[in-house]
Symmetry: C2
Amino acid sequence: MANSPSGDSSIDRIVRVLETFTIDRTVQTASEIGRHANLPSSTAHRLVDGLVHAGLLERDEEHRVSLGMRLWELALRGSRALRLRQVALPHMERVQARIREHTQLAVLEQDSALFLERLSHPGAGANITRIAGRLPLHASSSGLVLLAHASEEVRERVLAAPLAQVAKETVTDAPALRRLLARVRRDGYVVSPGSVESVSTGVAVPVRDRSGDVIAALSVVLPRDAPTEQAIAELLRASRGIRSDLSEH
Amino acid sequence: MANSPSGDSSIDRIVRVLETFTIDRTVQTASEIGRHANLPSSTAHRLVDGLVHAGLLERDEEHRVSLGMRLWELALRGSRALRLRQVALPHMERVQARIREHTQLAVLEQDSALFLERLSHPGAGANITRIAGRLPLHASSSGLVLLAHASEEVRERVLAAPLAQVAKETVTDAPALRRLLARVRRDGYVVSPGSVESVSTGVAVPVRDRSGDVIAALSVVLPRDAPTEQAIAELLRASRGIRSDLSEH
């Protein structure tokens, strides 16, 4: 790829532009994009023009720019994320119908839990998770399952790094976290009260592919002191269903 | 953006690489990508390296390449598609629970109907629609709704172009299609038997934003001769619910 005088490639610059769009910032001017991406204004305008021309960004009549439907299409059409999510969705709907709380599917991505899907019952409680949002591996119940089953390399890297105190009860002590992860592997699920928000308890189980590798975590977010037995049973059942359906495709 | 000797920009080349991934081709080698993107092998390998480095593509131990979770995240995180789909999902689930057939949400994108979501009841009939898949505007029930409410510019462009005979009953005569579109605008829904597949009937309604603009189409796919009244009523009700929820956000 062509490099700019500053040495970063076209791809890096495009990624920096796309990164400026977030769930709270879906529409921007080209100048704002330049500012948020820390790119010279002329570079930002030229890049935005090119990305609009390719359909990856869209520009409205007031010259405000948003992510394009074409980008969405290209990112999803051939993605394993979409396939996994499609297979998981009916099972997640069943969990949601029975437990009537938030039901979520997450994968391990760049040392965090990336949420592929979230179904939210109208009456469900607090939940900060968002689709395409991330949570730290050591804090969220999904993250704990993913971390417990991650490669040793990922696990040791996360355990060696500072462990953020997301909530008062987040386990941030590396030896304690190590013991917790061993327990998750042994039990086949995790119940994690107050580790993300003090008002809620996360319950998560691993989702395995046909060869038994853990490829995702399936979770529900319950009110803090709700019973967890039924949620664990429904999640384990859904996880088995997803594994079985993945093998068929 | 830097141009290659052949005159296409880095963005175009990246899009060409991403376009090679489809629902039926989710894993490729860099050489295959080059062949499908019609790029010189050295260019393809360099591009793939850069895209893997940025996380937009992922490479497994066997050097096979797939779309990256990072691309999925960047494309969705700040997208209007995700927001619309999140608002629509509970309403779509209600339609699906009552009608027990495929329920779909589509938007107008580059002169076709692009499907943002599809919920499929386990016992539902045939349906060729796929998430992030497209159907011609004049053939699918969603497309007819979108075309009926498109700008005059889009509508005249589609009517002037050849209208593909997707199925035996697809309306491919421009004057007949024009009359059909007027009827869709008047009725507020469309019932479209056999226009995509002879065994099914599409039923679709427009979804409007708070200012009344049509931003999407909501549809169900029924067995060919199923009654349509309940589906129309449920779709209209869901469409009103989505509009109301969009206004709140």
